[in-house]
């Protein structure tokens, strides 16, 4: 099974939550958006996107709903739940702390 090996562990969750915080989306759209916002830096195979989404759903951070798309096809749309929003805040905080800490370390080394 392909894994998001280049992705810092746990970051995928944060990214997905953030993307869905803006607007409910289906899986295909999420995969496009991921590529679009991260360029080729973050490589998430489509095969591992869905297990990640299902995991978030099972954690009750996102919820799924079947809707018709603009081209009249049924698709599964994910949206953020209230616990999901809290989780996003928490993970974003964590990320910021981590990023700050790491950039500090990097700076110290340069100096």
């Amino acid at each position: 099974m392909s894994k998001p090996s280049d992705l810092v562990q746990g970051t995928l969750d944060l990214l997905l939550l953030k993307i869905l915080a803006l607007v409910p989306m289906n899986g295909f759209a999420i995969s496009l958006r991921l590529k679009q916002i991260s360029g080729d830096v973050l490589q998430v195979s489509d095969g591992s996107l869905y297990p990640a989404l299902h995991k978030l759903e099972q954690e009750c951070w996102i919820t799924a709903e079947w809707k018709t798309t603009e081209n009249n096809r049924r698709a599964k749309f994910y949206s953020l739940t209230r616990p999901g929003r809290r989780q996003l805040e928490k993970e974003a905080d964590n990320w910021n702390r981590l990023a700050t800490a790491i950039s500090h370390v990097v700076k110290i080394q340069e100096a």
Binding site: M1, S2, F28, S31, G47, H54, K55, K76, P83
Partner: protein, 882 residues
Amino acid sequence: MPPKHWFYVVPLRLRSLLRWGQVEEELDEELLYHLEQKTQANLAKGMTAEEARRFALREFGGIEQSKEACRDKRKASFLRDIAQDVRYGLRMLRKAPGFASVAILTLGLGIGANTAIFSFADVVIRRPISLPQLDRLVGVSEYVPATEDSGISAGNFQDIQSECQNFAELAAYQGRNGVLTGRAEPEVLEGVATTVNFFSTIGVEPVLGRSFLPEEGLLGRNHVLVLSNALWRRLGADASVLGRKISLDGDEYVVVGVMPPKFAFPLGKVSFWTPLAMGAAERESRTDLNLHTVGLLKPSATLEQARSEVATVWDGLLKEYPQGNAGRIMQVTSLRDHVVLDYNRQFALLLLGVAGFVLLIACANVANLQLARAAGRQREVAVRTAVGASRSRITRQFLVESFLLASLGGILGIFLAQWGVHILRATLPAQVEDICDLNNLGVNSAAIVFTLLMTLLAGLVSGIAPAWQQGLRDPQTALKQGEGRVLGSRSHRLRSVFVVSEVALTLALLVGAGLMIRSFWSLAHADRSLDPDALLTLHINLPEVRYAEPAKAKAFSAEMLLRLQAFPGVQSAAVVSGLPYSYYDDEVGVHVTGRTEVNPAELPTAMLEAASPDYFRTLRMTMKQGRGFDDRDDTGTQPVAIVSESMANRLWPNQNSLGRRIRLGGANSEEITVVGVVSDVRHEIFDRVFRSIIYRPARQAPGLSMDFVLRSGGAPQELIAGTRLALRAIDPNVAVENAETMTHKIEEQTSGLRYVASLMAVFGTVALVLSMIGIYGVIAHLVNERTQEIGIRVVLGAKPGNVLGMVMKSGLRLLASGVVIGIAFSMALARVISNLVYGVSAWDFRAFAGVTLLLTGVALAASYIPARRALRVDPAAALRCG
């Protein structure tokens, strides 16, 4: 999951559990949608339809793996997967009916044996009696450490009854047998004399009629009786029995009640209950431990509170009556512990442990079967792994299959246990029947729970190794290899470990059984010189009312002896107060004249026997010093006694015992002169040392309870009918009890031990067969695997002997390791047994050697069969296979 999520969680979980099909469809649809969109996008980039689709698929990665990963994320999928595993497992078992049936039967036997023994142990230990308030019932007793006597004196009982506040009721009882007359043949019935509050204490009332009235505890008013249900049925099961008179010991008793069916307390075959009425002297006694108690604690009271309260009262009694009470301990125990002897509990636990061994052996066998089968399933496992099953999933699959086998085995086990309990009950010796209420024996809910636990244990023990091993295997190599060709050395080692443990456990079991059989055998056959086959014994209990005068009892026994001696073929006949092996026990304190008065607790004690002149000759005892009894020793002449050799050595080591004077019981009793020393005799089968015994002439010390014994030249059983006639001629209202040979008496005492020994032998045999199958399986599998190698060896010139030796050697290696571990194991078990059973030595070379030989023979046979197959290997065919 934090509870605040329940709003989302509950519907989600329910959905993935209950609407699995829909969830699966949605997963398909979701991924399909993705691929379609991707394809569309690729088309838009200008690819051909074919290309667009292929690129979309490639970019996605493995679809099945992705799906499986999604499924794994569903929390409820666990249950679902188990269900799937179970279905799959059942299918696999159906495909291998031979394997499945052997495994299920093996586990069924193991589990069934455990359930049966558990049901038995449960009755012996936990529910020996069925009384409604058993948990609140206690027994209060005085214990004399010096003589191991226990019971309570009437005086102490009454003081504790009136002074202790923690008892709602405290009742006393004593065994009293009675001769039922007025029917075709006088018959001795076991009965109990109880204080009038007995039935309200134990909480069981008659189903018919009433229990005793307070005034019926007075002398003269006490001729009423309550019948057991069984006796009532034998007397005609007539409700009009109430108020009818029954003749007991020549007295009339009015029937006032009938107890419910199956009620038996105290244990044994109690046929009737009468009120206990005591005379003034008896009521004041502080010495005779002739009563037993049963007390009902108040609902608010605990056993501890009752204990400390009784202890306080006892302190006072010790100060007030030091003469009778010194050297005694007052005990309060729960009735359950009061009834369950430590001995019985340990035997029950021993059997339970033995059954556990058998189950472990069964598990080892099934584990081996599964390991062998797993070798043939590598391809299947590899395919499953390739389509997305994770290692843990494969491991789980194997565990589930093992639990399936165990569950089916457990179900079979419950049926087998029911059958086993039936057999246990049918073969139970009468002695064991007296230790517990067998009406409670059966596979009950506790046994079912126990079976469930055993089943889980069996599933785990037999499945953990095969499952763990499957999880370790690399699917890639498995796929490349041919079906069941190569197994890692780990598997061999595992299988060998199982067989070695089987052999070790079997050895321990067989040694245990061997030790028990040998000890029971030596106990039962120790008294060759006694020639017990030629001895006929009868017990007669004269009713107190009509034989209160010693002269009457004396006349009775003289008359009876005369008649017995006249029987054809009788070499000698004698009477004694208690024969060896008759559970007779009458200890007295011995005051030696001229010796300073010691603390009453340290007074030497001895068993008192009143014997007629021919007693020693009849039992083939020899006079060591002095003279035997003769007809001169009577009421008018000097009081004399003969002491046993051990007693003489204890009282007067290296000194002359003849002419010594002793007093028995109180210091003021009559002085008795020792006129002889007689050889020792083992009194009870489990005695570790010879008892001190003082013999008195029967004419100087007549009693009401007497054992007649006669040595016959012919078959002693043929005289039984004659003895009854003789007795009837003397007194038609007295019954003969226990007319039997001495051999029978001895066998009766060993019957419990023999029973446990034969159960252990049965378990040992089962274990032996199981480990034989185990060894056979491993060797046969080895030969299968090494067919090619053997072929090459044969081509290169190996002789049949070499091949045979090579295969047999693997078998013997397993055996040797098993035996070494097993001997260490059995020594530990032997220690347990030797503490439990007298006559078992922890290191009995013959038992160890015999069992090892037996096991070696079986192992050789089990390896020989597959070894023969190795000889028949056709080298050409074997090489082609490779």
